[in-house]
Structure formats: C-alpha cells, structure tokens
C-alpha cells in the first residue's frame, strides 16, 4: 500500500509525518536538528530515501544535512569520514561561495540595496532545495542573497550557477524579508529548463541546465515599482508548475495571482474573485490540470487571513473563479500565516493537499481540499512543507 511522508521544516527543527494512503492516522517524528531553523527539506523524486535539508542558525550559519534512508538517519555530507583526494577531511557541504571568476561568474560583486546604492553579495542561508529529476546526488539550492547553487555529489560540495546573477543581478533589490531565491522549478517536459523565482527581483528561466538565465516577467505589473512593468523588481512570492500541462505555471505575486501557458513568456492575471490576491503559497493538483490552490492573506501589512478565517481557495478553471475551502479549518479568531514554501500536494489518486502555518499547525486534506484535518497542531512556526508519495 502506498505511503505518504510529509517533510516539515520549522523555526525550531524538522519533523516527518507519515501515514498510509488513507491519510487518516499519522505518525509524527521529530524534532530533527532540534533548535535549528529548518528552512526546507525535500526528497529526491528518483530515490525517495534521499532527502536534503537546509539547517541554519543566526549564530552558527548554514548547515546542510542529507539522509539516505528516508529520514531515519542524517549526516552532514562530507562531514564525517569522507576524505578529499588529498586525504584531508572535507567540511565543505555548507560552503556557498559566489562565483566571480571571469570564465563563468563574471565579476558580479554587488546588487541594489534598499537605499538604491550598490551592496556586496553576502551569503546568508539556503532557502530552498530542489533535487534533480534524474539523479539523487544532484540537487539545486536557492540561497539568500539570491543565487543558484548546484551539487553533483550528494551535497558534499556546492558550485554556483552564476549565469543567473548574470541576468541583470546588479539591478536586483531585496524585499522586506531579504533577497532570497525561494523557488526552483525543474521542467519535466523540457530537460534543461529551470525556473528560478526571487524576492524581489522576479522570475528567470534557463533552457541550458542553468548556464544562462533571462528574466521572464512579461505581463507582470507591480504598482510599487517606479516602472510597474519593468523587467526586474517584481516581488514574486512563489511559482508552481502544472504537472499535467508543464508549459502552464501559476504565480502568487506580492499582489496578484498570475498564470502563463507558454513557459513564462507571457503572464496574465487570474486573481478573479479572490477576497484578496495577496498571499504566499500556490500549488497545483497532481492530476487535474487547471486545479490550483492559494491561501489569501489580508494584505502586505496584515499577514493573516481576512476576517480571522483560514481559507484555502481552489480554482478548477485555472484561476479566475475561486471557491473557499473551509471544512475543518478554523473560521474564527485565526491569525496565522502560511509561508511560501509551506504548501504541497501528494500524488495519490485522490490528491492530498497539505499546508503548515506560522502557528505550528499542519493541515492535510485527503480529498483534494474538500475537507481538512490538522495532522499536528503545536509545532514551532512552520517554514516549509513538502510531500513524498511512496510506493
């Protein structure tokens, strides 16, 4: 019988929630890496036992963790007995150094700062991990200050794909939450196509495995920008690819829910009848094209649900028309937020949808969102939720 494994990153550690395919009874394991912020955990689609985790701390910086047994045990890649060719222990799994070499990195040394001056690029943490669709030892990492890194040896070492910062990186500017590369989407239809989304720079696309990128923001409009339709500067919160129609992607922007049907060449707004089009997460049904989920949040100043009611909104028409999903969710006095990486879907026949809140609840729906139940209620603030569907 199939199993579902939900990987939850929180402000104070990681948790793994497991259930059989009924998704009625859950086992909660954790905290993993107790006391550390776990920004993101994600499993390899090729080998679900291989899971990568981003562990960080304001004191001790970035740590990378890797499991090869589905999360039962963990190691810092290269941090144990592994030796370099010269015989020295290697401790470089948390070494993220921006590439400024003339050959690949170009000398991109600064980006735009809040006061419009130029500011040096400074590594702070890994926001998002995206394991390769074909190789469990290969994984991409989106970091703050925004850049894309890649490992080809299971996380032992990381190398920047500097072509991304070459896409007008000197014009990128951090938002209030920093300048993080928070979304990496690997296109299953077009090998080598990678989308990367950055707050507050925009969304970028590569068609050559990450060597070069270009902004793909046509159709976006952000009224806070001096030029609302400028190529660079949109505060993209999250993008998600429709697995049934991979040329269709959806976007939750700072304001506006958007979609594209041509691989991000052109975006159009599909906020439609949402009560507010501000929010963070967005995800797409595993099997039903055009079925999309968002969690509207009151505004950029009020990061909680409108009217104190926690509602997931679902569109079955690819946006435009939305329905509130409320059964099982608190409909009064609820003032939590759902962060951008804290929603995911499973791949079971009846698609499951999951999200975590800043109040520490993880909710799951085993019926595509029609009804919800809390899987666990009192975790630390949830930063990320990912799901693995196991055979």
């Amino acid at each position: 019988m199939s199993m579902v494994r939900v990987l939850v990153g929180t402000k104070k550690g990681g948790f793994i929630l497991t259930s059989d395919a009924t998704r009625k009874k859950w086992k909660v394991d954790g905290p993993l890496f107790a006391g550390w912020e776990i920004y993101h955990m994600k499993g390899s689609p090729v080998d679900p036992n291989r899971i990568y985790a981003s562990q960080s701390s304001g004191w001790f910086g970035q740590i990378m963790q890797r499991s090869s047994d589905g999360g039962k045990t963990w190691e810092t890649p290269g941090g144990g007995m592994q030796k370099s060719p010269h015989g020295f222990p290697m401790g470089e799994s948390n070494k993220f150094v921006y590439d400024s070499s003339p050959e690949t990195g170009r000398p991109i040394t600064t980006h735009l700062w809040y006061d419009n001056s130029q500011h040096p690029w400074e590594f702070k943490r890994v926001w998002h991990l995206e394991p390769s669709l074909t190789d469990p030892d290969m994984c991409y990492a989106g970091v703050e200050d925004a850049a894309l890194f890649e490992t080809t040896n299971g996380g032992v070492t990381w190398k920047e794909l500097a072509g991304l910062r070459g896409a007008k990186g000197e014009q990128w500017q951090p938002g209030a939450g920093g300048m993080g590369l928070h979304t990496i989407v690997l296109d299953p239809k077009h090998p080598g196509r990678i989308y990367a989304a950055i707050s507050a720079a925009g969304v970028f696309r590569s068609d050559d495995h990450g060597k070069t990128f270009r902004p793909v923001t046509r159709g976006l409009r952000s009224d806070f920008m001096p030029d609302p339709t400028a190529e660079i500067g949109h505060c993209v919160h999250r993008i998600a690819l429709d697995p049934v129609k991979p040329d269709t992607l959806y976007m939750q922007k700072h304001w506006d829910v958007m979609r594209t049907d041509d691989g991000a060449e052109q975006w159009r707004e599909v906020s439609g009848d949402l009560p507010t089009d501000f929010g963070f997460p967005i995800d797409v049904h595993a099997h039903q094209a055009e079925t999309v989920y968002v969690v509207p949040i009151t505004s950029d100043s009020l990061h909680y649900p409108p009217e104190g009611k926690l509602r997931v909104y679902r569109s079955k028409t690819g946006g435009g028309e939305w329905e509130a999903l409320t059964r099982g969710l608190p409909q009064q006095d609820c003032y939590v937020n759902v962060l951008r990486d804290a929603m995911a879907v499973d791949k079971l026949d009846k698609c499951g949808v999951y999200f975590g809140t800043t109040g520490g609840q993880v909710y799951g729906s085993a019926d595509s969102g029609d009804s919800w139940e809390p899987i666990v209620r009192d975790l630390p603030a949830v930063l990320s939720v990912e799901v693995q569907t196991l055979p």
Partner: protein
C-alpha cells in the same frame, strides 16, 4: 629540521615539563580542552568537553584548525570558510577573558595551552 621549526614556534605557554621533553622528539603538541555550545556539540555528535591536539604555538586559529580537522561538520560554523573571520554572533573566551576580537594568531594563555582550562566557544546572548 623539524626540531628547529618547532623551536621557532615556541611560546612561554609551551615551555613546561612534558611538552619541552617531547620537543626533543618532534614538534610540540598541546592537548587543548574546548567547550562548545550545545548546538555545535550536537552537530559534531559529541558530549561534554572535547580535546584537540594542537601542533606548535597554541593560538585560536590553530585550535580552530584542529577542531575543524577532527570534526569537519563544524567547519564554517564558527568562522567564515573563506575569510576566516569569526561569525558575528560567536564569541571565544579564554581564562575568563573575551578574546573574540584579539588576533587569531596571538598565543593563547598558558592555562589554555596546557589544558588546565578550556577554551570556551559561546553563542552570543541575543533575542528577547
């Protein structure tokens, strides 16, 4: 040649009993005690204080080098991989003195070098 190199790195804190005797046979090795904060102990999978063998003059840099060599998972957690600068919210204490802003190449006090007292690595108090 080895002995000369070792003599070149002699400091007062290594001039004592056993270590001076060992000088006749090879480079001076000091057995330094280090007390790590909770999160770094769990990361390195150690309990309590640890001891590291430091060759030559016992400096903060030499202790951290030895620490990272023995426990690679700690690399980058106390000082930057590239610049080797201390992370802003990590402090080092030796003999009740905050040495965080001293040169990492300065010899540590004899009590640290001889293992009489531990070098403390502290996560700065922060938050509210």
């Amino acid at each position: 040649m080895l002995r000369l190199a070792a003599v070149g790195r002699l400091t007062p804190c290594t001039l004592n009993g056993l270590r001076l005797t060992r000088l006749l046979w090879g480079p001076v090795m000091s057995d330094v005690r280090v007390a790590l904060p909770f999160h770094l102990r769990t990361l390195a999978r150690i309990e309590g204080e640890l001891r590291v063998a430091v060759e030559g003059t016992v400096t903060l840099a030499a202790v951290l080098d030895a620490l990272e060599k023995n426990h690679p998972a700690l690399t980058g957690t106390m000082r930057d991989h590239v610049t080797r600068k201390r992370r802003p919210m990590v402090r080092f204490f030796a003999c009740e003195q905050d040495i965080s802003d001293e040169s990492p190449e300065a010899p540590l006090p004899p009590a640290i070098a001889t293992g009489a007292k531990p070098l403390y690595v502290i996560g700065a108090i922060a938050g509210g």
